[in-house]
């Protein structure tokens, strides 16, 4: 049932022209940024060789690229999550799901999974670009893997946050803006807390992504993402169960 709903979500996404438009623009941005970083690397390569322990191509190209991707994701995810439940409510298609023999948890998980697959597909070109460098040089696969894992966890938590706001309202635009403000707010809370030990850092998904970004796999970061996603998904399911049309 979850798979059926996820596939439906994907089909609907891909049948909208706006999705393809956003996809095309994003691929352009990714490629541009990737080329820019590669060029920078080629320029500074002679200076790097003089260092005792120089950063490799993965650290110079991949790490900033994934970092930018994480920031972009913060702005982009609300645009996609806003539709999840709010639009179904607005178009009155939610009754189809509510009167079907499936639980609210299935509805929420199916929809979120569909969107997660979509966003991962959207970002899939980035590691492909990076692996294309493997033709000419040696890549730090571990670093790329930790970034990919971190990005997947980050995306999941963003979707969970977006889905919750989408379940609160029947107006997709309100869902998008509230989710965006929440994500930016969490990021700002992290950025504006000057003290390194400030508890505000702990609240920000992007702060927890930093360790993955630099190739450090920490249980605490992974646990943070899992807990955040699970909590918000449960809240969303509860909201759907109440079914305030």
């Amino acid at each position: 049932m979850i798979r059926l709903l996820a596939m439906r979500e994907l089909r609907s996404l891909f049948s909208q022209p706006s999705t393809w438009f956003i996809l095309a623009l994003l691929q352009f941005v990714f490629a541009w940024f990737f080329l820019g970083r590669t060029e920078t690397f080629l320029e500074i390569q002679p200076q790097l060789t003089q260092l005792a322990n120089p950063p490799g191509v993965t650290a110079v190209v991949a790490v900033p690229l994934f970092n930018t991707l994480a920031l972009l994701l913060m702005m982009l995810t609300p645009l996609f999550t806003m539709r999840l439940i709010a639009e179904e409510r607005r178009n009155q298609t939610f009754a189809l799901l509510l009167s079907a023999p499936i639980s609210s948890a299935h509805i929420v998980l199916g929809k979120c999974l569909g969107l997660l697959i979509f966003l991962l597909l959207m970002m899939a070109t980035v590691p492909l670009m990076l692996w294309s460098l493997a033709i000419g040089t040696h890549l730090d696969q571990g670093l790329i893997f930790s970034n990919l894992l971190g990005l997947a966890l980050l995306t999941t938590s963003y979707i969970a946050i977006g889905a919750y706001f989408s379940a609160l309202t029947a107006q997709p635009i309100i869902a998008a803006i509230s989710a965006l403000i929440t994500l930016v707010g969490l990021w700002l809370a992290d950025m504006l807390a000057t003290s390194a030990t400030s508890p505000w850092h702990m609240l920000s998904p992007l702060y927890h992504f930093q360790n993955f970004n630099s190739g450090l796999l920490d249980n605490r970061d992974a646990a943070f993402f899992v807990l955040l996603s699970a909590t918000l998904l449960i809240l969303t399911v509860r909201k759907v169960q109440q079914r305030v049309d």
């Binding site: 049932m1 059926l4 709903l5 439906r8 089909r11 609907s12 049948s15 909208q16 178009n91 009155q92 298609t93 939610f94 009754a95 189809l96 799901l97 509510l98 009167s99 079907a100 023999p101 499936i102 639980s103 109440q242 079914r243 049309d245």
Partner: protein, 354 residues
């Protein structure tokens, strides 16, 4: 004396035995015919004492209804009477604030997934994913309702046929006309052959030919399943429903068979147009006429008892006396008026303006 007494005692035992046998057979028949009746009209949907509050406002008050297999029930009411809210609760789309709902013997509120398998629901606005084609959408709907994957294609084909959708099967729902979209809405509600079909104003926005088709389809569905439909069109109730429940301000105020309601509306009488009318007293003296009233110089309203119809006597007299009969129309209070009468009476009773 003693011999006679012995005989009579024998006779009494004989009589007792035969009584026992007869009693046994009678009971046997009662029990079995009872079982037969129950099997014929199994209760598919029952709602007990449903209430629903939105904030402090109670919109549905203590509503109970029962639906049997093979029955089409019309839920009739003004806009805002609470029909859609009731149907939302019956399909599990809106949890009631109080009361219980059972679908095919399964509690909808406790075992919602199991109970919802027996429900097909068409809301006020058909729930359609406009970006899918009719075929894909129906396939999705069938799987969503838990049909086995190998049964789905056959069910989709059959349902498309029933709802007249074969010609638009590959078209996107967004490109279909309102009538076709409504049919897709009905198709998704019946594709999994549910025992209870709930249709919220199924013929709204359709043209007369489509309305006729849909009504025929609903009648057909009513043979194998139970159908409950809400409407504010009285003709729909007359044509389609076996039973009608009238709803006003969140309460069921009147319940009868559709035929019973028709009976309600029959008023015995007719209007008569005579170009050369006799005096009023002469019309009143015809046997069976209870009351004559002149509408204009040539038009009269005649009321008679239900048992005796004076129209044939009147026709004979009209030709004999050259009254020049032009028109004779039986009086029909429309179902509309009956409905208004019932709802108005209820308003007067509760002392609230409608």
């Amino acid at each position: 004396m003693s011999r006679e007494g012995a005989l009579s005692a024998d006779a009494r035992t004989l009589f007792d035995t035969s009584l026992h046998i007869r009693l046994y057979f009678t009971l046997f028949f009662i029990i079995h015919s009872g079982a037969l009746i129950l099997a014929n009209s199994e209760v598919t949907l029952s709602a007990r004492n449903l209430t629903r509050r939105f904030g402090n406002q109670e919109v549905i008050h203590d509503l109970s209804l029962e639906l049997r297999r093979g029955e089409v029930l019309g839920l009739l009411g003004h806009n805002g009477a609470g029909k859609s809210t009731t149907l939302k609760m019956l399909t599990g789309c809106l949890p009631p604030s109080g009361g219980g709902i059972t679908v095919c013997g399964v509690d909808l509120l406790k075992n919602s997934c199991q109970a919802k398998q027996h429900i097909g629901y068409l809301p006020e606005t058909p729930p359609l994913y406009r970006e899918l084609s009719v075929h894909d959408f129906l396939t999705f709907a069938a799987k969503l309702r838990g049909m086995a994957a190998k049964e789905v294609p056959a069910a989709v084909t059959e349902t498309q046929q029933r709802c007249g959708l074969e010609s638009v099967s590959r078209k996107l729902i967004a490109t279909l006309s309102k009538g076709y979209q409504q049919r897709v809405g009905i198709a998704q509600a019946i594709i999994h052959r549910p025992a209870v079909i709930v249709l919220d104003e199924p013929t709204v926005g359709l043209d007369p030919a489509q309305i006729r088709d849909i009504r025929a389809l609903i009648r057909e569905l009513g043979n194998s399943s139970s159908v409950i439909l809400s409407t504010h069109l009285l003709s729909e109730v007359e044509n389609v429903c076996d039973r009608v429940e009238i709803m006003q301000r969140g309460k069921l105020i009147y319940s009868d068979s559709s035929a019973g309601m028709k009976h309600y509306k029959d008023v015995s009488g007719f209007t008569l147009t005579l170009r050369n009318p006799p005096p009023l007293a002469e019309l009143a003296s015809i046997a069976g006429v209870q009351h004559v009233e002149a509408i204009s110089a040539t038009q009269f309203r005649i009321l008679h008892t239900a048992e005796t119809n004076p129209s044939s006597a009147l026709l004979t007299l009209a030709t004999q006396n050259n009254w020049q009969l032009e028109q004779l129309t039986p009086l029909h209070t429309s179902l509309e008026e009956v409905f208004m009468k019932i709802t108005d009476a209820e308003s007067a009773l509760t002392g609230v303006a409608r």
